[in-house]
Symmetry: C2
């Protein structure tokens, strides 16, 4: 399969999810060495999980199948430019390459908040629409110090 | 319980998760009407799930318990300033208020990529360390149009 075939598979997942009433019109596949090893469509409303976007679902699927928490040898194909949640998930999973169909502007045009959230994430915490309040940093730093001191920890 | 008690509960989850070897030193609780209705600690390395940050885990826990995909009447307490993935998840869940302990700079100081990912998310797609390539937008737009045309859809 070539790049366009993988993108068509992601789009087909978006269409299937929409027809099945599982959530928004988004689909995604994770590919390793020319093979789809993870896939997903948006399942937010059908599973009561606001984090169940297509990319998060596909990454979790790929990681479960490969028994790993990093996908550095994979590529991700998504029917729409990832929202900030999914983009950051892609960074945490160490996926080095992403192909996307629709843009965040296309998503905004049909009522999704991706572009708004991109602009919010770029603001300092005190400027956001969400009220963000620092609290007990000194106490919280103790668990960070415990991590720093830990030998043989598994980094990610 | 007051604000500080909820933050101490989040920090205790961070410490427990660290001691139990479940993942990084991060804990989170979701509170509604003065009661903890969701909680989590980082479980990335123990469950092979790069999206299993404390906040994502706590949001999923709260939504499963309340059988909803939106938490507009809740507050979130996290032992560290949310990374972009978790912050965007908080927006998608419609949580209006967040309390946090450590900062993203504190997280960077013990080896976590939060600050790097914040700076990456703010860049245009073509400027990022991850290679991002548009592909087949015209084909992908068809599923967006199908969503736009759908009556009685569940928005989120």
């Amino acid at each position: 399969m070539d790049n366009e075939s993988f993108m068509r598979a992601a789009i087909e997942l978006a269409d299937d999810g929409l027809r099945g009433g599982r959530g928004g019109p988004f689909g995604c596949v994770v590919v390793r060495r020319g093979e789809i090893i993870g896939q997903g469509s948006n399942r937010v409303t059908s599973t009561n999980d606001p984090t169940a976007h297509a990319e998060v679902t596909a990454i979790r699927d790929a990681c479960a199948r490969l028994q790993t928490f990093q996908l550095a040898d994979c590529e991700l194909y998504t029917s729409c430019e990832p929202c900030p949640m999914c983009l950051a998930a892609i960074y945490w999973a160490r996926i080095p390459a992403v192909y996307y169909g629709n843009t965040r502007a296309d998503a905004a045009a049909i009522g999704f908040d991706d572009d708004f959230i991109y602009r919010q994430v770029a603001l300092p915490p005190e400027k956001r629409a969400i009220r963000m309040t620092p609290l007990l940093r000194d106490a919280a730093l103790h668990s960070f110090q415990a991590w720093a001191d830990l030998e043989n920890k598994i980094r990610y």
